[in-house]
Amino acid sequence: MTLLDERKTAEEEAVSPKLERRARRRESWRGFFHAAPAYVYLTFFFVLPLLIIFVFSFASRSNTGKPLLENWNLDSWTRLVDPLVRTIAVRSLTMAIANTVLCLIIAYPFAYWIATRAKQRTRTLLLIAVLIPFWSNFLVRTYAWRMLLDSDGYITQFGELTGLWGRMLFTQPAVFIGLVYGYLPFMVLPLYAALERMDWGLVEAGRDLYASGSKAFRKITLPLSKPGIIAGSILVFIPSLGAYVTPDILGGAKTNLLGNLIVTQFQAARNWPFGSALSGAILIVMLVATMIYFRTGGRTI
């Protein structure tokens, strides 16, 4: 891109200032034009709905849950520091972090394998193979896991035979199995992309300089694959934070997570303003986190 910039500035210098200004304006207009449809669409179907949520978070609660657009207050927002909310938030956070770490540990060697050991042609096929399970239905997959993990399930039977584990359904491990299963591809793909793009010649150079295998990995490969690690972590962490269907089905709906809490506010708990405040708060936190990430020099995915 820098070469092009250089050429452009060279251009601009050679041409008269009026044409230069016109070119720049046209440039600017073209850029806007390309973005316009998406811009308009997202404004209508994202920004405005988001504003509604924010407005609702200051409204008061009616008997049916729907917000009364009067008596504006900060009740919903002050409720965010309730001990219950804090417990649930911490729980969700821990689960999301654990899930991300697990996915990373499982996905890294796997992505490494595909990027380095597989032949060029097979790589794409392998990646597609990773995605194929996702074209079935998310719920069917989750219920299939429920079946595998219940008292008669194959995994339970295997565990009982080898004496390693008993029925895992409706316990925390089952929830993690379901979550990792659901988000693994989001970690694999960015990791693969980063590893594949890497200049492996650098690793060879390191080996030439008598670095051991693990040292070369630690000092060269790992740091170079960092963008992939970070991208994958974001793609897994964020949805994990709001996940609640998998914990419900595989965990027995026994623990409330942020996702449950929000949905409940709009249904059983009949408290839309609070649900809106919760959603808004989570969004703000995520926004801030993402901005910090970008400010500290993170690259786009």
Binding site: V15, N63, K66, T255, A269
Partner: protein, 426 residues
């Protein structure tokens, strides 16, 4: 070289811009087409016109408009397809009706009145309320008794036009013709009624006599079945059973009592496997649960389903030897589900005709023969299977009726209960 490039660009600029604009317009047209044609479900035939006009009407003066329309309906009149919002599998249709060998009621309605029925499911009153409150349009919904009160208060229901629903006065049993939750059945028509209790495997509990809520709430009584127990995932039901166990009314307005119940539920975390309102009966019959809080009809229908018959129709496996249902000695809830017309409805005439249809003796009986809940329809008793009528689990004897409580609306305490349940689970 650069100069030539600029002037060429100037000339073709207009052309390319036009091309691009057309491309974008094509895409947007595609989008609009998708929206337009798909707002009407394709099961409808010639109701396209009605749909679009109704849509614009409902934005103006919803309540008055729809109420006037409902009042103007004649008996048996229809004004478009019926959008039915019902509990999962609460009405026999499709393969389910075949399984249980009863009439497909939706098909029957279509044959008799010429309008198709689109069925959407919900799993809890609050889910349904949230959708209706948000403006989702359905013609008939099936709220439970206490929810009817909430919806009436929130002006979400249309008052029924008696002239269009003669069966409402003619067929309903006296017990249900002037209920506390909707005096005179002005806004709702009784659909089915049932009880909440404990379904269990005989391996876990010996007998249907003398069962206590303690098997769910008391650490000692629950211990033998720990990890195989389930509670309903329902604010009123779950809190209600805890309240009954503690000796309180399940309609109590006393915050201390509610808190106590919530704490009790929270303490069960050690031994319960799951909160489940939607598949507990299959999990019970498959052995994942041994003891479940649930509704009588769900259990009984499941036991019947897993019983096996040979080719001549003789019983080869009787599930009732392995499973049972009991109403705990501390008392429990009896509830009534009703049919009502929300103000977001677009086809009030069809809706009222449907309600009248469901209140016919034969159809009411089909419901009971299908879902094993008791019918509030007196005239239907003629067509209900003998063994169901005599079944204590479906039609409880007077001494059991005495310990059953119907849910009442809690007014301002509704939110308190809701929050308490969130605390209890969380």
């Amino acid at each position: 070289m650069k100069r030539i490039r600029l002037t060429r660009e100037d000339r073709v600029k207009g052309e390319t811009t036009m091309k691009r604009i057309f491309a974008l317009l094509a895409v947007m047209a595609l989008m609009v087409a998708a929206c337009g044609t798909d707002a009407t479900p394709e099961t409808t035939e010639a109701t396209g016109g009605t749909e679009t006009t109704a849509a614009t009407e409902t934005t103006e003066a919803p309540a008055e408009g729809i109420q006037a329309a409902a009042n103007a309906c004649a008996e048996g009149a229809t004004d478009g397809t019926l959008n039915l919002y019902n509990w999962t599998d609460y009405i026999p249709t499709g393969p389910l009706a075949e399984d249980f060998e009863v009439d497909d009621l939706l098909l029957k309605f279509e044959e008799e009145h010429g309008e198709t029925v689109t069925l959407t499911f919900f799993n809890s009153n609050e889910d349904m309320l949230a959708q209706i409150d948000a403006g989702a349009s359905y013609d008939v919904v099936v709220p439970s008794d206490y929810m009817v009160v909430t919806m009436i208060d929130a002006d979400l229901l249309v008052e029924l036009n008696r002239a269009a629903i003669p069966n409402l006065d003619a067929n309903i049993a006296p017990l249900f013709s002037d209920p506390g939750y909707d005096p005179g059945n002005r806004f709702s028509a009784p659909y089915q009624w049932g009880t909440t209790g404990i379904g269990f495997s005989y391996e876990a509990i010996d007998d249907t006599e003398g069962v206590s809520w303690g098997v769910l709430f008391d650490p000692e009584m629950a211990a033998p079945n720990a990890g195989f127990i389930s509670l309903l995932d329902d604010t009123r039901e779950t809190l209600g059973s805890a309240l009954k166990y503690l000796g309180y009314s399940l309609n109590t307005l006393n915050t201390d009592e509610v808190d106590e119940a919530a704490d009790l539920i929270a303490s069960t975390n050690e031994w319960i496997a799951a909160f489940n309102s939607s598949s507990y009966w299959t999990l019970l019959s498959s052995g994942e649960f041994n003891v479940s809080q649930g509704w009588n009809g769900d259990f009984l229908a499941e036991y019947d389903r897993i019983s096996e018959y040979d080719d001549e129709g003789n019983l080869t496996y009787d599930a009732y030897e392995d499973f049972g249902y009991a109403i705990p000695i501390e008392g429990s809830a009896a509830w009534v589900d009703t049919m009502a017309i929300p103000t977001t409805a677009e086809h009030p005439c069809t809706a009222q005709t449907f309600i009248n249809f469901m209140l016919e003796a034969e159809n009411g009986a089909t419901l009971t023969n299908f879902n094993y809940y008791a019918s509030p329809n007196e005239a239907a008793e003629e067509f209900i299977y003998e063994d169901i009528l005599e079944w204590e689990a479906v039609y409880p004897p007077p001494e059991t009726m005495a310990i059953l409580e119907f849910f009442l609306d809690l007014g301002d305490m509704n939110n308190y209960y809701a929050d308490a349940f969130t605390r209890a689970k969380g």
